[in-house]
Amino acid sequence: MDKKVYVTGIGLISAIGNNVAETLASFNDLKPGVGSLEHIKSRHQGETPVAEVKASNEELAAMAGFTKEYKNTRTALLGVIAAKEAVKSAGITDIKEFRTGIISATSVGGMGTTENLWMDYLNTEKSGEWLKYIESHECGDSTEAIADSIGVKDFLSTISTACSSSANSIMLGARMIKQGLLDRVIVGGTDCLSKFTINGFSTLMILDKEHCKPFDAQRQGLNLGEGAGFIVIESERAAKGKEILCELSGYGNANDAYHQTASSPEGAGAYLAMEKAFKVSGLKPSDISYINAHGTGTQINDLSEGTALDKMFDKKVPMISSTKAFTGHTLGACGGIEAVFSVLAIKHNMVYPNLNHVNQMPEISFTPVKELKKNQKIDHVLSNSFGFGGNTSALIFSRSQLVK
């Protein structure tokens, strides 16, 4: 089967911008989104840097187009904003014109709301309008909010494979198009910051108390972030006559099967996922112009990913950077957000800097790109996403031969 999957729309929101234009401006100005925690009351305020979306839930609801009373969690609001931008950018005016699905991903789901209301939920003497949030705890809730807001009915699903979640939703969408089950799919993911994840990662002692430094020998951990990123992918039939941003040429999923939270030192799962993505795309490692790494800034991830990359690319690793020092680690959303970055890298022939890198890691051969590079020739981008539970995924985006 040699069917192609075209990317025709992109949308995102993160700490570095509420849409694609603002995001590009932040990259141009080298303005990271990492700062202090504002919207969550927590002991970690002032202590643990995070990459927060700079808007309250009320402001997000207005941006999402909810004019009347809404019952959406922050995760759902972020998702609706990014998915709507993606649909608009794909020039879709009639969502029912083709068989359309939505596949989203999230790791916290509605926990950002549940954690504030849990004790009230359990106290039957207290009651209020807030009871409406009970049903929004489930991960699928944000996906249904997105589907209902853009009118998608033909197919819905939600994936949660920790930090690789939205890379997997993109992969599933592509497979469904190739199998002829859908003509176009809005794929990506959404996650908001929560006390649950901030404290969870804190107990694992992998949060950097300073701005994170992916792939630096002195790296101390990750900064958590929040946001959503979606792309619209279409079959040849649905994409006909439209502006094609690029193709999703490859994807691969594997499991490291090493430890519940830690990646294997040699990055066996990461290597397998990349190997599968190359096989699907028919490309060779030497075809890749830029790698958007998972690069969280933790000791374990960057060593594991770096080692797997050195093996995959035979120590001839092309331009590579982690964008997580800009956006923070957005967990279930990062694969979607970084897919948008990968598409933009091809569209604008640019490579993003890996901020805060000073010291070369002795274990790996490559040094990440440290400045914003323009006027490059970016034809194929590899995007990695790895998560707890050994879940590893890799996507390859390629310049399309189909130019309008």
């Binding site: 089967m1 927590s42 002991r43 970690h44 999230t106 790791s107 926990m111 549940t114 954690e115 849990w118 004790m119 939920y121 359990l122 039957t124 009871l131 409406k132 009970i134 049903e135 489930e138 991960c139 699928g140 809730d141 249904e144 009915k153 033909d154 197919f155 819905l156 699903s157 939600t158 994936i159 949660s160 494979t161 920790a162 997997n168 497979r175 469904m176 199998q179 089950l181 006390k195 649950f196 404290n199 969870g200 804190s202 107990t203 694992l204 999923n253 594997a254 499991n255 490291d256 099967a257 090493y258 519940q260 939270t261 066996a268 397998l272 998560g387 707890f388 539970g389 050994g390 879940n391």
Partner: protein, 354 residues
């Protein structure tokens, strides 16, 4: 996109493991929250490991082990599971620790295990299985998505034996929370009276059910899984019937070819009307059965239904406890499952004789 069901592993509120019996003697409950009859986990897990694990993780690992043994598959070519609520017990434990201790003195175990993909990950870890691994978390489409992915993986030529499954656990606290938005009945309804109950709400359930989907027919074969369709928020009965008709037409079948229908009737007066209409008109010539009085209502109850349908096809029999009305079929070639969760996520599965 078709596959053979060549193994099952079920842990449910009924006695569904370590037995060949097919619900001839069902466990009847006088409570609105059914919990699983659990095996002795030392048969499936290292006891030190088991002590640290939440209940649903243990149920998931045990049910998948039973499925591997039943299908005689050592390492599957892919693992995909569905869970709407993930590891609820661990999630609550970590959440309460945050609240009670004001974000201090926390330990990572329950956080690590609260991740929705823990069960698929633990299965992979136990088997050292580095193959494709997915976890679906979409309410009433969690298990259904894993089944669709299994069928797709086989159609793509990416595997011969695929493990799919659904697992969700209920806790006392989450039962009480959902009760506040009208999920459960206010009065206690005994198991065999659920279908006649005319009040709002259902009874809570839980379970872990795994299946081996195989490309080739094997000596042991429960049924052939031929199709699965998602019908999201149907606007009318006509839409449901149209979508089922399209599904059947793809396999050159009509409603009259369906010998037995397994309905997701849950005793909730708000939603059972859809099943009644299907039963009394569209599928009026098919034998009707139901199952949620035995396992309770939960987002991945479709997995219990798939076990029921697989067993009906394999044994060519229908236990009395799940029959509605009279037997209308001669032999059992085709079984259709129609299930929905809380009126939004509807799905239909088609199974046929091997």
């Amino acid at each position: 996109m078709e596959a053979y069901i060549t193994g099952t592993g079920i842990i449910s509120p009924q006695k569904t493991f370590d037995t060949d019996d097919f619900l001839s003697d069902v466990v009847k409950y006088d409570t609105n929250s059914l919990r699983c009859i659990e095996p002795s986990y030392k048969d499936y897990l290292n006891p030190t490991l088991a002590r640290r694990m939440g209940r649903v993780i243990k149920m998931g690992i045990a049910a998948s082990s039973i499925c591997f043994k039943d299908s005689n598959v050592a390492i599957p070519d892919a693992i995909m599971t569905g869970t709407a609520l993930g590891c609820l017990e661990d999630t609550e434990k970590f959440l309460l620790a945050i609240i009670d201790n004001d974000e201090q003195f926390l330990t990572p175990t329950s956080f690590v295990q609260s991740t929705h993909n823990t069960v698929s990950a633990q299965i992979a870890l136990q088997l050292k299985c580095m193959n494709y691994n997915f976890t679906y978390v979409h309410k009433g489409y969690s298990f259904e998505s894993s089944v669709l992915d299994g069928l797709m993986t086989i159609a793509e030529g990416n595997g011969k034996d695929i493990l799919v499954g659904g697992h969700d656990e209920m806790t006392d606290k989450y039962y009480r929370v959902c009760d506040r938005v009208g999920y459960w009945k206010k009065e206690v309804v005994p198991t065999m009276e659920l279908i006649d109950s005319k009040s709002d709400g259902s009874i809570a359930g839980e379970g872990a059910a795994f299946f081996m989907l195989s490309k080739e027919q094997k000596e042991k074969c429960y049924a052939k899984l031929r199709s699965i369709k998602f019908i999201y928020k149907p606007e009318s009965q006509q839409e449901i019937e149209k979508r089922i008709s399209e599904m059947l037409a793809e396999k050159n079948l009509t409603a009259d070819d369906i010998d037995v229908v397994v309905y997701g009737i849950n005793g909730d007066a708000r939603y059972d009307g859809i099943y009644d209409q299907l039963k009394d008109s569209y599928f009026k010539n098919s034998t009707s059965t139901y199952f949620k009085h035995l396992c309770g209502e939960y987002q991945t109850a479709g997995s219990f239904a798939m076990w029921i349908a697989s067993m009906i096809v394999k044994t060519q029999s229908i236990p009395d406890a799940i029959m509605i009305g009279e037997k209308k079929h001669k032999q059992i070639k085709n079984v259709l499952i129609y299930n929905s969760f809380m009126g939004t996520d509807h799905a239909a599965f088609l199974l046929s004789q091997c």
